[in-house]
């Protein structure tokens, strides 16, 4: 089970789900004049447009990294190998993504160990034997000099390649967790706010208890029981973070419940479920959207912190948090190896800043309290 949850295939099922959901949301929003007008206001801003383009690039990379295939095995001459008895093409057991394929030159340009960005020589001295048989300690020349934008890591992998691979992990954590949080927050928030009474008491009790347990503790416990992995991390982060949105939605629902158009529906005899989901929920969506976008970047950052604490996605998944965790050792050496940390920082910053800017633009366009009509 643990392995299945963490398998690439299962993750891709989730990715497809995420894409379908996003597509559906975009479809629904396109039909509504309200959202069209809101997004026109958002895209009027230069900063929001730039942010959107950057976020789209991240999305495309994450998608490319999700489309996988098994390359056929080739012999040294480049001939495709076939199975002797069935005649089928033998394939690499290790899957490969479209991104890997595109980045083949980057992936293939392996060095022996650390090298600084754009270096011509290795970062560490080695004992080298020259033709005459004399051995000397020196910095050996790199196989691919001036090729590594962010240098190479301990085993000689290009850091840029690793950072690019981290994008998918970051996007899945941000997106998946949000996907988990939103339905629960809406369901509980609207029920608690609309019905009040004992239902409200129970839901309030649950989220007050949940939010008073330190989330790091809860995540750690969960990870120990269910094992480390991307899916588990998304689930537990979802469980610990729906409370904030739920609380806001509950309050907003209580306000909307007293609005005259909701009362008019009640006086009309419209069913309670219909009132909740076709009258109240659409009026909450702006809050959900703003919280989702701003929460997205928060989750990318928490993954880094959790991985640093050793309770993140685990060592077998490439992630920015993992890179930072590695950097802990590298920063302790002398002279320090700084580029892995730097690369993780640049990539995270490049995702979180546009997400925040876009979230701010959304809030300005949607929050009625900030707008003067």
């Amino acid at each position: 089970m643990k392995y299945f949850l963490n398998s690439w295939a299962f993750q891709n099922v989730l990715v497809v789900l995420l894409i379908l959901l996003l597509a559906w949301i975009v479809m629904v929003m396109r039909q509504s004049e309200y959202w069209r007008a809101a997004f026109r206001r958002v895209f009027k801003r230069k900063l929001a447009r730039i942010s959107f383009v950057i976020l789209s690039i991240y999305c495309v990379i994450a998608l490319l990294d999700s489309v996988g295939f098994n390359q056929p095995l080739r012999d040294t001459e480049g001939q495709v190998q076939c199975s002797a008895d069935t005649g089928k093409v033998l394939r690499d057991e290790q899957g490969m993504s479209l991104l890997d394929y595109i980045l083949t030159p980057l992936r293939a340009s392996k060095e022996k160990t650390y090298s600084a960005p754009f270096a011509t020589h290795q970062f560490t001295k080695e004992t080298v034997m020259d033709e005459t048989g004399n051995s000397s300690r020196k910095y050996p020349a790199l196989k691919h000099p001036r090729r590594h934008l962010f240098g190479t890591d301990k085993v000689g992998n290009d850091v840029l390649y690793i950072a690019l691979k981290g994008i998918r992990t970051g996007m899945i954590i941000g997106g998946m967790t949000t996907l988990l949080v939103v339905p629960f927050a809406i369901l509980f928030g609207v029920f608690a706010g609309y019905f009040g009474g004992w239902l409200d008491d129970i839901i309030q009790y649950v989220y007050t208890v949940l939010s008073s347990i330190p989330s790091v503790l809860l995540i750690m416990a969960f990870m120990i029981v269910y094992g480390q992995g991307l899916t588990q991390l998304c689930v537990i982060m979802g469980i610990t973070s729906w409370t904030g949105l739920c609380r806001v939605l509950r309050g907003e629902t209580m306000k909307l419940r007293e609005m005259e158009y909701i009362q008019a529906c009640e006086a009309m005899g419209v069913s309670k479920l219909k009132i909740m989901f076709s009258h109240i929920t659409p009026n909450l969506m702006h809050i959900v959207l703003i919280t989702a976008v701003l929460g997205f970047s928060g989750r990318v950052l928490s993954e880094a912190v959790l991985s640093y604490l050793g309770i993140g996605v685990g060592a077998d998944t490439i992630s920015w948090g993992g890179m930072i965790n590695d950097a802990r050792m590298e920063m302790a050496r002398s002279p320090i190896v700084w580029w892995k940390l730097f690369a993780a920082f640049v990539f995270m910053f490049g995702l979180v800043l546009p997400a925040n800017l876009f979230g701010d633009a959304l809030r300005d366009a949607l929050d009625p309290r900030l707008r003067t009509e």
Partner: protein, 676 residues
């Protein structure tokens, strides 16, 4: 625009060709576009106009408080005591504000800072402009509170705003505004948020303080009655311009601009009860949509081509009476009679049935007050406390009372938005208060409600077609979607909406149109009774008349019964057949509308009627009720009205009077008072 000739010797404030513009998403909004007027020392100048006419912006411009950076003064001058305020520096302006010119606002609930005591806020002004020390400010502040009629000023000085009632807060606002004895007081709708009995207290107070301090008052209001009773001079504003400027008497005796004439005709009052109200077609234009020429041309019955091309300027038609209109006759008055607009039409008569539609018997609605860890009930807010009311088929019953008297709660109990504590709501043979589930759902169709606020009564995310058909769907009116849409189009046409508006969203409609949509939503399920909760209170006068006429027409056509809940007696008088007056959860007087309003018996009804500022009656007897409406959680013993009643005796404070027939009149006329 040509400048108005003004007497410059005694003018304390002169506004010349003021232009205040706002940059908005939809272009420049010329909220104030060439306004000129002058106020003499000690005089009250009223600016009257409907929403969007620019009257509040004019006031804010004088104070230099227009919201920057979107708003700016594009031209003109504001001369106050010889200085042009548009050129004054921020520092100089701060010296003027609160010291020489002060302002009181509409909403007393938000105009005071809730985290400071009344005393803090008074002392702040005094320290700032008079350099007073704490003790000195206290003595003076208490004196001011006493002046504005706050009892126990010593104690009140240290209280927080939430401990005071709305009327008291407005008094505190006045005390703060007048603390530095300003030369000019700007009162922006000072009583709009208050009840009529409190309104008359506050207006009396402003008048008496004005005399005492000799200050000038710039009164901004939409209420012609308030103008009539308080102003010396009046400027009628429309579309960012003053269209008529005259002394109060002249304006009411001889209104000359078509807009002024029409505005006065569209007020519901005693005189036009059986008539169809004169309406001004269309709606008040928004500042971003102002057109070339006279701003009123598209609503004016006598407009000609010239009105569409050129802007008229204010011209003297009399000494001290100016009007901006091309169509004035020899006597200086625009003649509307030829346009057919003045033709008075009798209201169609509603067929009255002799069987009752709704019978409410001893209805009670008590809200528990819970306190403490275990939420123990420690008392009840008796919002409705034993109320009897009968509505016949085809009849309109007006339910009037001040805020907090429980009238809205009655409405909500009847449509079952609230579950009443006890009592019967008989509709046909069924007691609505005991129904639930599917039987209740059937009755929901037959009783509908129209709400006060046209902006919050429609779901902003739904097309209005969805809003209107929602109820039809719930009650299976029409079997297919197409059928429902056909019915919807018929109803929309009936309430005066174009069918091509069906797929628009609420924000694209004006207040009056939204109220029509609300009416269409109610009519869609074919109700027998409609509860109108302050249905016209938030509308402009000219739009209110359209809706009132529509309600009357629909009643005739469909045999509807209305429960018309309102605080506005003149509207109720115009529309209702019978009137019930509520005070603190009980009905104190009920009877034929004409009877009750022309000849009130209960002292509360008398005071309520006397407190309404009238447009057409100079010599009415004024009764100013002391104090506020008591809290329904702790009503006074005996007759709830006795602490405010001038006739009250020992008996009133001990025994509660019941509703009894008033001798010599028909059985329908009841009052609950020992002194009747």
């Amino acid at each position: 625009m040509e400048r108005l000739k003004l007497k410059s010797d005694k003018n304390i404030l002169e506004v010349n060709d003021l232009q205040t513009y706002f940059r908005t998403e939809n272009g420049v909004a010329k909220a104030v576009d060439g306004v000129s007027f002058a106020i003499k020392a000690g005089e009250t100048y009223a600016i009257v106009g409907e929403s969007g006419s620019g009257k509040s912006v004019t006031a804010l411009s004088v104070m230099q408080l227009v919201a920057k950076p979107s708003g700016y003064i594009a031209g003109g001058e504001i001369v106050f005591n010889g200085d042009d305020l548009t050129k004054a520096s921020t520092v100089a302006m701060r010296e003027v504000r609160g010291n020489q010119i002060s302002m009181i606002f509409q909403e007393p609930m938000t105009a005071l800072n809730p985290v400071f005591t009344v005393g803090n806020q008074l002392a702040e002004v005094l320290a700032l402009h008079r350099g007073m020390k704490k003790d000195e400010a206290r003595t003076y502040g208490i004196e001011m509170l006493d002046k504005v009629g706050i009892s126990d000023p010593d104690k009140r000085y240290d209280e927080y705003p939430f401990q005071l009632s709305g009327g008291m807060r407005q008094r505190v606002m006045i005390a703060i505004a007048l603390a530095c004895r300003p030369d000019l007081l700007i009162a922006d709708e000072p009583t709009t948020a208050l009840d009529v009995t409190i309104q008359s207290q506050i207006l009396d107070l402003i008048r008496s303080l004005q005399k005492e301090f000799g200050m000038a008052v710039l009164l901004i209001t939409h209420d012609m009655g308030v103008v009539r009773e308080n102003a010396d001079r009046v400027g009628v504003m429309y579309g960012g311009r003053i269209v008529e400027d005259a002394s109060c008497k002249d304006l009411f005796d001889k209104p000359s601009h078509p807009y002024t004439q029409m505005l006065m005709k569209s007020l519901p009052s005693r005189g036009n009860r059986s008539k169809v109200l004169q309406t001004i077609k269309g709606m008040v234009p928004q500042p971003t949509e102002f057109t070339q020429g006279c701003r009123f041309n598209n609503r004016c019955p006598v407009a000609v081509e010239q009105c569409r091309q050129e802007s008229p300027i204010l011209e003297n038609i009399d000494k001290e009476h100016t009007t901006a209109c091309f169509m004035l006759g020899k006597d200086g008055v625009a003649d509307l009679s030829k346009s057919g607009w003045m033709a008075e039409e009798e209201s169609p008569v509603v067929e009255k049935y002799d069987y009752s539609c709704l019978n409410v018997e001893s209805l009670k609605m008590h809200f528990p007050i819970k306190k403490g860890f275990f939420k123990k009930t420690i008392g009840h807010v008796r919002a409705v406390d034993g109320l009897d009311l009968a509505i016949k088929k085809g009849e309109t019953v007006g339910l009037v009372g001040e805020s907090g008297c429980g009238k809205t709660t009655v409405g909500k109990c009847i449509v079952r938005l609230l579950d009443s504590t006890s009592g019967k709501i008989l509709f046909g043979d069924n007691d609505l208060s005991t129904l639930s589930g599917s039987t209740l759902k059937q009755y929901r169709r037959r009783i509908q409600m129209i709400f006060q606020d046209p902006f919050s009564s429609l779901n902003p995310r739904l097309k209005i077609s969805d809003t209107i058909t929602e109820g039809m769907q719930a009650h299976s009116v029409g079997s297919t979607k197409k059928e429902r849409r056909d019915i919807m189009f018929k109803i929309m046409e009936r309430v005066g909406l174009d069918s091509d508006m069906a797929d628009r969203y609420p924000h694209e409609f004006s207040g009056g149109q939204r109220q029509r949509i609300g009416l269409a939503r109610a009519l869609a399920v074919e109700p027998e009774l409609i509860v109108c909760d302050e249905a016209t209170s938030s509308l402009d006068v000219s739009v209110q008349a359209q809706i009132l006429n529509l309600l009357k027409e629909l009643q005739v056509e469909l045999g509807l019964s209305y429960l018309f809940i309102s605080h506005d007696l003149s509207v109720v008088h115009y529309l209702a057949d019978r009137v019930a007056v509520m005070y603190l959860g009980k009905i104190v007087e009920v009877g034929d509308a004409n009877d009750v309003i022309e000849n009130p018996q209960h002292p509360y009804t008398k005071a309520l009627i006397a407190a309404i500022p009238q447009v057409d009656d100079d010599n009415r007897k004024r009764i100013v009720l002391p104090g506020d409406v008591p809290s329904p959680s702790n009503p006074p013993s005996g007759c709830a009205f006795h602490p405010r009643c001038e006739l009250a005796t020992e008996e009133c404070s001990q025994k509660m009077p019941s509703l009894e027939s008033i001798s010599g009149e028909s059985n329908d006329r009841l009052a609950a008072c020992w002194k009747v």
